[in-house]
């Protein structure tokens, strides 16, 4: 029997579950590989560990071919859920793995849509849940094969039809299983799952005889765990770059906090504060019976100069960066460094806030505006060609008379980056109007040759 079919074989009419003899009759030169479920399971587990490291602290296996990720609160670095799913698909495609990424309010629904929905990327919101899954075949409901078969004999083909059946007679005939799976798919019943645990050398945990739920208690034990973790880190002489704190609830659900550090650290106060800041996002439910703190990413500590001359120690800026980054998102904190480019938009690039000092500086001789528009704004002007500044221009509905001007500063397109910029030219002028406000204008093209640009004028920035 075929257990998996490659994308090249699908057009030939082969499908999973087909008998091998039948397949060979359809495609005589078929290449057959023996199935290796053990290796598949191992690979899936590796993938789970990778996605736990990369995307979300809570990842569970959905054998034989699925992974479940709890992405609540994990999507913002990718610009939202769609960005996260696209990133997963892209990265899997890079290693030639076909995948479908579905985000749904329940695991049951996501499981069904990923396998039977036929779409590679889909986000289902709670209001669209029923509509999205009601038309799916019964096979997607994770029922035993014979139950599905019996239901099909009764003429029930889709989830929606099963949902419409009276529940009592269904339970009488098929037991509680169909009802439970339906409730799980529709989100009426919680579905706990066991997350994979990445092999990490640095991990500490605490179990509670009595479940805890108060935020103050959770914070107290968080600090105790941080103490333990920092002691372990000291023993190996490393610092943590990322921390996962998992709360195992008594109803088997798992909540998690993930915190990143800009610089490897094992400072108890700093780490404790970072985690405790986020405790309010954790829903303890009926209580928490186990807390696990692990450091999946560890690095040697950076060197730091220590002074013992009685000066007041200056707090580390990286600790503040971590606090703000965990609140706003890591991508919202950055430094801006010079890049070797004359195009203004490309001359400045964002780098990590705690990156090493840069060497490159912008040239000081060329005045640059304090505010640069994300895209240049088209203006109406009157100017002499080819190399005179405008006499006046209209921007945002107001006419401004140019009193003094400097320029042009000619900036050529970066032909080594793009064909389209082969000939393009911008002539920048710095102009001052009668109120003293200064503007950065440019003309697309050199004013003579139409191939260099359309001779339109733009306002690109404002000087102080």
């Amino acid at each position: 029997m075929l257990t998996a079919v490659s994308s090249a074989a699908q057009p030939l009419g082969l499908y999973t579950g087909m008998a091998v003899t039948q397949a060979q009759a359809l495609a005589p030169d078929l290449m057959l590989l023996d199935a290796d479920p053990a290796a598949d399971a191992e690979a899936l587990e590796k993938l789970a560990v990778w996605s736990q490291r990369r995307y979300s602290p809570i990842v569970a296996l959905d054998p034989p071919d699925g992974l479940m990720l709890d992405i609540s609160g994990a999507a913002h670095p990718y610009g939202g859920t769609a960005g996260l799913l696209a990133d997963i698909l892209q990265r899997l495609a890079d290693v030639e793995t076909a995948a479908r990424a579905i985000c749904a309010p329940t695991y049951g629904a996501a499981h069904a849509l990923a396998r039977f929905g036929g779409e590679a990327l889909r986000i289902v919101d709670p209001s669209g849940l029923a509509a999205a899954i009601s038309a799916l075949p019964l096979g997607s409901l994770r029922l035993a094969a014979d139950t599905t078969e019996k239901l099909r004999v009764l003429g029930i083909e889709t989830i929606g039809e099963l949902e419409a059946m009276p529940r009592a007679s269904l339970a009488l005939r098929f037991g509680s299983e169909p009802g439970r799976r339906l409730d799980q798919a529709y989100g009426r019943l919680a579905e706990p799952f066991e997350p994979v645990e990445a092999p990490s050398r640095i991990e500490v945990e605490r179990r509670f005889a009595e479940p805890i739920a108060a935020p103050e208690t959770m914070a107290r034990y968080t600090h105790k765990l941080v103490d333990d973790l920092c002691r372990d880190l000291e023993e190996v002489g490393l610092g943590a770059r990322r921390l996962d704190l998992r709360f195992h609830r008594i109803d088997n659900a798992v909540e998690a906090i993930r915190a990143g550090l800009a610089r490897a650290s094992r400072d108890r106060k700093q780490i404790g504060r970072l985690l405790c800041d986020r405790i309010e996002t954790v829903d303890p439910g009926f209580g928490i019976e186990r807390m696990v703190l692990c450091a999946p990413v560890i690095e040697p500590l950076g060197l730091r100069a220590m002074s013992s001359l009685g000066e007041r120690p200056v707090p580390e800026v990286s600790a503040l960066v971590d606090i703000l980054a965990s609140r706003l998102g890591e991508e919202r904190l950055y430094r801006i460094a010079a890049r070797e480019s004359h195009i203004p938009e490309r001359s400045a690039a964002r780098i990590a806030p705690m990156a090493d000092p840069t060497l490159l500086r912008w040239p000081e001789r060329w005045p640059r505006p304090a505010r640069l528009f994300p895209r240049p704004e088209l203006i109406e002007t009157m100017a002499l060609l080819p190399d005179h500044p405008p006499v006046h221009f209209v921007w945002r509905g107001m006419r401004r008379r140019v009193v003094r001007a400097d320029g042009p500063e000619r900036i050529y397109g970066e032909w080594h980056l793009s064909e389209a910029e082969w000939l393009s030219v911008r002539d920048y002028f710095l102009v001052e109007d009668e109120t003293g406000a200064r503007y950065w204008l440019f003309r697309q093209g050199d004013g003579v040759d139409a191939a260099t640009g359309r001779q339109d004028w733009f306002l690109h920035g404002l000087f102080g």
Partner: protein, 253 residues
């Protein structure tokens, strides 16, 4: 009372007044502008460190805050250490900030989602104490919010600049509302000095000190920050023989 007797009492009285005014407030020193015309109008001879200051643009600068940003960058450039710049609109062009005297390696930009989160970041970073200064672009600043910021700045000794920048020109009336800031500045670009050749001279700002705690209002006509973050008095206004003599010397060389 004789003159000598009065002198002896003065330090005592000053200490008492400071005690009444500041409670446990520490004297953290000042950051001078390096221009005696401005410094002598400020109590202590400069901008108070560990305090909150407000800067806004005038005229068109109300909405773009370009000159105000450079003014703030110049002040921060003269401190030493890392500076945090909080904003919601990432339209600041870093090369200009570098040209105003603030090295790019010293600035960490924080792009917050909304104004509330800008204020939260502003306060958190003022309280932290490891920074040389914090600039935050905020449109509205209530008395309560500014008091919190001032207390945070005083507790750490970090200088904070609230860069007031509004979405619409009409909103700038908000700048009349009182806040707890130690000084309040308005920076307006004015026409620069005509040059004998085509081109542009150094930008000129009309800097108004609208409010100053324990000081008086004043206004100054200055030339914009240079690459070391220092303002300058226009040569035709600075009544200094040295400045006047420097011109032929430079022209000759």
């Amino acid at each position: 009372m004789t003159e000598r007797g009065a002198r002896a009492h003065l330090p005592q009285l000053r200490a008492r007044i400071a005690e009444i005014e500041g409670g446990e407030r520490r004297q953290l020193g000042v950051l001078p502008f390096g221009l005696s015309a401005i410094d002598e109008r400020l109590p202590g001879g400069g901008l108070a460190l560990g305090s909150l200051h407000e800067v806004a643009g005038g005229a068109q600068g109300v909405t773009d805050g370009a000159a105000a940003a450079l003014f703030a960058a110049g002040i921060m450039g003269r401190t030493g250490g890392t500076v945090l710049w909080c904003m919601t609109q990432p339209d600041l062009f870093a090369p200009a900030i570098a040209q105003a005297g603030l090295d790019p390696d010293r600035v960490i930009y924080v792009e917050a989602r909304d104004q509330t989160s800008v204020l939260a970041c502003f306060e958190e970073s003022l309280r932290h104490g490891g920074l040389a200064g914090v600039v935050a672009e905020v449109p509205r600043l209530s008395m309560t919010a500014s008091r919190r910021l001032l207390l945070a700045a005083e507790s750490s000794g970090t200088i904070g600049i609230a860069l007031r920048r509004w979405r619409r020109r009409e909103d700038a009336a908000d700048f009349g509302q009182p806040t707890a800031a130690a000084t309040r500045w308005r920076v307006t670009a004015v026409p620069s000095k005509p040059l004998p050749v085509p081109g542009l001279a150094r930008p000129r700002w009309f800097v108004e000190l609208i409010r100053c705690r324990a000081g008086e209002c004043a206004d100054f006509l200055v030339e914009s920050c240079d690459a070391t973050g220092r303002l300058a008095l226009p040569a035709d206004l600075a009544d200094r023989p040295a400045a006047a003599q420097a011109w032929p010397a430079r022209a000759a060389s």
